[in-house]
Symmetry: D2
Amino acid sequence: MTVPAQCREFTEIAERVNNWGRWGADDEIGTLNLVTDAVVREAASTVRTGRRIPLALPLQQDGVQTGLVPGRVNPLHTMVALNVEMFGPGTVATSDDAVTMGLQAATHWDGLAHVSYGGRIYNGRPATTVTAHGGAAFSGIEKSRPLVARGVLLDVARARGEEQLARGHAVTPEDLEAAEEFAGTRVRAGDIVLVRTGQLRRYLSGDRNGYAHPSPGLSLRTPAWFHARDVAAVANDTLTFEIVPPEIEGLWLPVHALHLVEMGMLQGQNWNLEELSEACAEEGRHAFLLAAQPEPFTGGTGAPVAPVAVL
Amino acid sequence: MTVPAQCREFTEIAERVNNWGRWGADDEIGTLNLVTDAVVREAASTVRTGRRIPLALPLQQDGVQTGLVPGRVNPLHTMVALNVEMFGPGTVATSDDAVTMGLQAATHWDGLAHVSYGGRIYNGRPATTVTAHGGAAFSGIEKSRPLVARGVLLDVARARGEEQLARGHAVTPEDLEAAEEFAGTRVRAGDIVLVRTGQLRRYLSGDRNGYAHPSPGLSLRTPAWFHARDVAAVANDTLTFEIVPPEIEGLWLPVHALHLVEMGMLQGQNWNLEELSEACAEEGRHAFLLAAQPEPFTGGTGAPVAPVAVL
Amino acid sequence: MTVPAQCREFTEIAERVNNWGRWGADDEIGTLNLVTDAVVREAASTVRTGRRIPLALPLQQDGVQTGLVPGRVNPLHTMVALNVEMFGPGTVATSDDAVTMGLQAATHWDGLAHVSYGGRIYNGRPATTVTAHGGAAFSGIEKSRPLVARGVLLDVARARGEEQLARGHAVTPEDLEAAEEFAGTRVRAGDIVLVRTGQLRRYLSGDRNGYAHPSPGLSLRTPAWFHARDVAAVANDTLTFEIVPPEIEGLWLPVHALHLVEMGMLQGQNWNLEELSEACAEEGRHAFLLAAQPEPFTGGTGAPVAPVAVL
Amino acid sequence: MTVPAQCREFTEIAERVNNWGRWGADDEIGTLNLVTDAVVREAASTVRTGRRIPLALPLQQDGVQTGLVPGRVNPLHTMVALNVEMFGPGTVATSDDAVTMGLQAATHWDGLAHVSYGGRIYNGRPATTVTAHGGAAFSGIEKSRPLVARGVLLDVARARGEEQLARGHAVTPEDLEAAEEFAGTRVRAGDIVLVRTGQLRRYLSGDRNGYAHPSPGLSLRTPAWFHARDVAAVANDTLTFEIVPPEIEGLWLPVHALHLVEMGMLQGQNWNLEELSEACAEEGRHAFLLAAQPEPFTGGTGAPVAPVAVL
C-alpha cells in the first residue's frame, strides 16, 4: 500500500497487530480461532430475558448500495414460479424465487480474502490465490463457520449522548473505552464487538447518499485496541466501516488492511444496531449471545449474514 | 388440491391442524409465535459444551439442484473485482463477488407463501398476493425473524440403527416417537425439530441424482404430530422434504400444504445433519440451542439459511 | 385501462388500429407479418455504400436505467474465469463471463406481451398467459424472428433544425410527415421506422436522470399514422418511448397499449440514432437495410437487440 | 501453451497465420478489418428471394450447457413484474423480465479476449488486461461491431452426403474445399464462413450430453486455410468448435489459440445451421447476406448473437 510519508504510523501498527503464523502456517480463519467452546458457553450464559433482536437489513432492491462500488449491486429479487400447479390442475401450487446480488451489498461480513496489499492476503498467502474461477482458494468465507459467540455492543453514539456521530467522526480507542464503561462490560478475548455510530439512521430515514458518505467510522488507531483485547470480529453500522473521506489523505481503507490482512479478523458492515441499542439501554446490559453465521459461499470474499442478538 | 377419492384422510388432517386465525387475522408468521422468550431462555440453558455444529451445505454451483425444478438454480458465484487497487496504484486492493441463485436451491427455509392450494396461502389470504412485482406481500420470509430457539434432533435413521432410511421410507409419528425416546428429550412447544433420514449422505458421496429421488421423507401423518406438540418449525435432510414418489398416488406435496398453508409452519430442506448426528451421539443428548435465521429477502417465498447448533 | 372522461379519443383510436384476427386467430407476431420477402429484397436494394451503423448502446452497469422501474436493472457483467488453464499448467487459458440484466434495460424491443390492458394482450389472449413460470406463452419475443427489413429514419429533430426536441414535445403525425419529407422517402408497408428525437444526447452527455424524464416522445395520435402506413415496427431514442409526463393527465402509456396490444406491433427504446442521423444527413438518404433481430429469449416480454443499419 | 513434442506443427502454423501488427499496434478487432464497405455491398447484392433464416437457438434454461464448463450457465429467465398496473388500478399493465446467463452459453461469438496463451491475447497484449473489474480492456466484444457481411455456408455434412459428421471427424481443408465446390461459391476476403457438421442435430433431438462430446470439429489444419482466404470470421454448429477429444493428445483448443490469439478472428459456436442447410440446398446457392452483430457487452470476452441469413 502506498503510504504517505507521514504515515509511518500505519506501518508500525501493522507490525504490532500482525497475526500471520500465530495459529500455524495453514490457518485460514485468523481471530475466529479465539472463539473457543468456553467463549460460547459464556455467551450462552449471558442470555437472561430471551429477547431476540435481528441485526440484518431486509434484502431488497432499494438497499444501501448507490452504485459507487462497481458491481456491488443491491439484491434483485425475481420470481421463477408463481402458484404453479406443477403436478397438474388442482394440485398444490408452488412459488419460487431467484436472486442476484453482491455478496458485500447488504448486511455482511467481509471475508479475509476481500482485501490484499503488497500482493498478500492474511497469513502471507499470495493475493493471486483469489481468482475468478472459484474465488478465494484460501480463507474463503465458507471456512468461517460456525460463528456464534458473545457479542458486546459498544454504543459510541449513545455513550456520547448523540443520536448519531458527526459525519467525519473518527472513532478512537478512547471512544471505545468510554462506550465500554457505558456498557458496563469489559470486552474479552473471543468477543464479537459491535460498534454503533448511528450512521445507519440516515439510510433508515431515506437518505441513501447521505448514509454512504461522508461517514464516521473506525479510526486507524482502533485495530491495535481490538488486537490488544483479542477480539474475534468487529461489525458496525456504516457502509464503508472506516471514516470517509479518510483520516489521512490518500490512505484509503487502512483499517481493512489491518483487520483483514494483518490480523485475519472478519469485519461487518451495514449492521442495523438501532433496535439493539434501544434494547440494551432498556435492559441496562450490552453483552449477549450473538449468532452471526455468514452464508457459506464457497470461495466468497464476503457473504450476507442475518445476525441475531439474544439478550 | 385435487385429492384422490380415498384421501379423505388429507381433508380430515387439514381441518385438525389448521391454525388460521389462531394468532389473529393479521398474523403472518404462524407457529413462529410459539417461540417465546421463555423458549429461548430454555434453549440457551441447554448449552453445555459450547460446541458449535454448522448445518448448511456450502453454496456452490455443484450444489444439490439437478435441474428438476425449473428456475431453481444452484448458486453461481462470480467475481466483479479481483485485487483492484481502486484508489490508485499501490493502494489497498479489494475483491468483490456477486451471486445468482434460487432462494430454495440450497439449505433453506420454505416460507409460508411458498405454497398455496385452493387459491389460499396461510391464514386464508389469496394466493394472488404473491406477485412477480415484490414477491409475497404477506408472510414473506423477511417477516420470520429472528429465529433462535431450542432445537431437537430426531435422528430417525440412527434410532433405527440404519445409516440412512430406505428410499421409500415414510417417516411416521411412530418413527418420530422412537427417535424422541432415543434422543431422551421430549419435543415441546416452540421447539424446532430436525428430522434426520440420512438421505443427504447420497449427495455427500457424490450421487446428486440419487439424493433427489426416490427419497424417504415425512409422511402425511406427521403434521398432526407436530401440531399436537406445537412445534415451531421442522427441517430435514432431503431435497423435497416429503416422500418421493408420494405415498398416495397423485397426492403431491401434501405435507407442504399442511405445514405451510394450514399450520403456518416453516419447513427446512437440504439441512446437513451428519455432523450433528455424530455430535449428539457422542454427547448423549439431542437438544441444543439452534440459531437459524433466514436471510431476510423482502417478499421471499423462501430463503437460504446457515443454521448453527450449539451444544 | 381507466380512461379519463375526455379521452374518448383513445377508445376511438384503439378501435381504428386494432389488428386482432387480421392474420388469423393463432397469430402471435402481428405487424411482423408485413415484412414479406419482397420487403426484404427491397431493403437489400437500398444498400449503396455498404456503410454500417450500429444502433445499440453498450451493455454496461452504467447504463440508462436509474432505478425508476423496479427490477429493470442495468447489465451486471461478471467474470467466472480469467485466463484459466483449464487443461493443466501451460495449456491454453480461457476467460468466461456471465451477466444479469433486465431484458428491457438497454437498447431493446418491447415484445407484444410486455403490456396488457383490460386483461388482454395482442390478439385478444388473456394477460394471464404471461406467467413467472416461462414468461409469455404467446407472443414471446422468441417468436419475432427473423427481423431484417427496410429501415427509415424519421429524423424529427433534424427536420425541425433542432439538436434535440424540447422535453415535453409530443411527436405528432405532422412531425412524422415533415420528417418523411425531409428524408425524401415515403414510409411503406413493412418498413421499420426509427423516430429520432435527440433525447438520447442527454444520456450520452452524462445526464442519466435528465434522459429519463421529462422526455419528448410519440404522441397518442401517431399509432393511427403507423397503422395507416402498415409499418412493421417503430423504435426511438427515448427511455419510455412516449411523452413523460403524459400528454393527457392520468393516461399513462397509451401508445404502448395501442402498439403492443391493439396493433401487435413491436416497439423499440433506447436506440442510439446519433451516428445514423449524421450518416443519413451526409449521404442524403434515410432508407437502409436494417438488421434488428432481438435475442430470442423463450417467453421474453422483450429482449435486447443490437441493430445495425446498412446504408 | 504446452505443446507435445511432436507438435511442431502447431508452432509452425501459429507463425504462419499470425496477424499481430497487421492492422497496426492499436488494433483490437483483427480480421473484422477485412469486412470493408465493398464486402458489404457485395453481400447485399447476394440477396435474391428475401428469405430470412434465423440461426440462433432459443435462449432458455434447457439450453446446450451441461455443467461441464464451470460458470457457463444456461439462461435463467425470471419475471420481475407480471401485468402490474403500475400507475394505479385499471391503468395499462406491464410485465418485465430479467435474465442471468453465461455470455458463451448459447449461440455466441467468442471474442478475441476469450483465450490467451503464453500470457498474451491478440496483438500481443498481456492476458492480464482481462480483469474481473471490467472484463477485457482490449478487444472486448463491444469493439466488434457492426457485423454484417457476406456469409457462406460450407455444408461439410451435406457435401459428404451425411446427416451429420461422425463424432470424431476432423474437418480438414480438403473437407472445406469439397464443401466450397458443393456450394458453388468461392470463399473470399471478408466473408463469414459457416461450417456445418450436423452435430447440433443431437441437441435438437434431445441428446444434450451427446451434443457436448465426443464431437466433430475444425481440425488444427483449418486456420491456415481461413487465413489464406482472409476470412473475417468462422462459426459452426458444435459446442466446442473443435474436435473433442482433441486430435493430438494433450493439445486442447489449438484452433481457439490460432483463431483468437494469433489471427484475431472471431469464432462462433452453437449456431443452428439446420434450416439454413435446407434453404441453401433448395435454392441451390450458399452465399447470402449475414447479419450477426454480437450484443455489445462492454469488456465481454464473448457475447450472445442472434444471426440472420438473408437469401
